[in-house]
Symmetry: C2
Subunit: 264 residues, 2 copies
């Protein structure tokens, strides 16, 4: 059973994960960050050790959780000095499990499919945690470990995780960018972004109950050219928004033409 | 005070509006729809009269609420046979108030900034209702009328409403299309869309507390070219998604370059 954790990373995900483990009684023994202040800050919340030196990681932990940005994983691995049977796990959506191969005999992935901010506390209990391991016994250990944090634990392959990560880019990163565009459009006319928030919430809540293709509304779906043209014209001083508007409108129209055709 | 309503329309918005009015004791006296079945169905829920003939609208109502799609408003107006002092109001985001000019002496707009479905009941109390009127006395009447449904009533000009509608297209229609794309990407690999729902909800909930530009994460913001290229490659059999991915990624990158520059 996984009891003692060394956490490698002190960013958004590492912070939220550490706080959630701390709450459920899983012991984070040490926090590593390249930046000593970040390590100290998070360790302070957990009342544990911290370091910015990978050669000083404590050796008696049950798991080494690498929660750093994708591009930093390789460098971390190359600088670990651990016994070759230590369980090492990364938390990245887009990175295959086999990057860990050759660094230890026991490894896996622990990918919480959620967006994290350092200062926004989040309840883990309904977050899907996607796990993968190189060996059934590691999978069982990860299953139990993840199950302490969430009721939604899924065994997901590296290929499947890559697909989930891509879909998450559309439904989180790209969606958030459209919130930003909405906010800017209002700001240009001194209108309050709060006016859009109930709409934004309902748009998300709706697909809890409805297929998103069924939930689609608006001028693009109806191919309402007068409205589309008027809105494009309103964006004349924002050519980058205009371009996105055209592409997404066309994509919605095509998707619904196809959807309606499929229903025939 | 507005007590008796004639509702012109029986679609998503008309239905939800009627049910909300019915609940707060505002009397919907009659429902009109071009399609008699739709009129009958909604009138059945409200226990009121219905018609599909504009010449048969009852004449003793305090307000005639036009809740039909934008492109149908003009035709409705041209076929109304009402006294010239009747209060007529439309509910469209993208249509200016002055389309009502010449059809009556008393008119205005009542635009609830929300997405509606026929079969998804919605609480009106926090929906921003944007009102506009041709005369202060009509504005006061609409203010009181809207205040019975919502705690968030705002006097908004036609120009401002047009801007809100445009921002709503980005944050509702376009966002929902990205939910659809996410669902399709998962479906292609037989993965369950439910896995994305907590992420989608948190993405929306987050901007209740954070500026969306601050909430942005992901490969586009970091300009993480290896991930961006890998994801574009995954979309090789979906050229239309690939195109959108490229454009939105570029737009996020540009927006954050600008944002970071503005912060210097």
């Amino acid at each position: 059973m996984i009891e003692n954790v060394v956490l490698i990373g002190a960013g958004n995900l590492a912070t939220q994960l550490a706080l959630a483990m701390h709450e459920n009684g899983t012991r984070v023994k040490q926090v590593y960050s390249r930046t000593i202040q970040s390590a100290r800050e998070l360790a302070g919340k957990l009342k544990c050790e911290y370091t910015n030196d990978l050669s000083k990681l404590i050796t008696e932990a049950d798991i080494y959780l690498i929660a750093v940005k994708d591009s930093a994983i390789q460098e971390i691995l190359e600088n670990l000095y651990l016994d070759c049977d230590k369980l090492i796990v990364h938390t990245a959506g887009g990175v295959p499990m086999n990057v860990l191969d050759g660094f230890t005999l026991n490894y896996g992935v622990f990918y919480p499919l959620q967006t994290f901010s350092k200062n926004r506390k989040i309840s883990f209990s309904s977050i899907p945690i996607c796990i993968e391991a190189n060996h059934p016994s590691n999978l069982i250990a990860l299953q139990e470990f993840a199950g302490r944090l969430s009721d939604s634990v899924h065994q997901i392959s590296s290929d499947e995780r890559k697909t989930l990560h891509l879909a998450a880019v559309f439904t989180n990163n790209f969606v958030n960018h459209f919130y930003t565009i909405g906010a800017e459009i209002l700001q240009d006319k001194k209108l309050n972004f709060d006016l859009l928030k109930p709409l934004i919430n309902e748009t998300a809540a709706k697909i809890g109950k409805m297929d998103p293709v069924e939930a689609q509304t608006g001028p693009a779906k109806r191919n309402d050219q007068p409205t589309i043209n008027a809105q494009l014209k309103m964006l004349h001083d924002r050519p980058e928004f205009q371009k996105i508007y055209s592409f997404v409108t066309e994509s919605i129209f095509q998707a619904h033409k196809k959807h309606n055709h499929d229903l025939l």
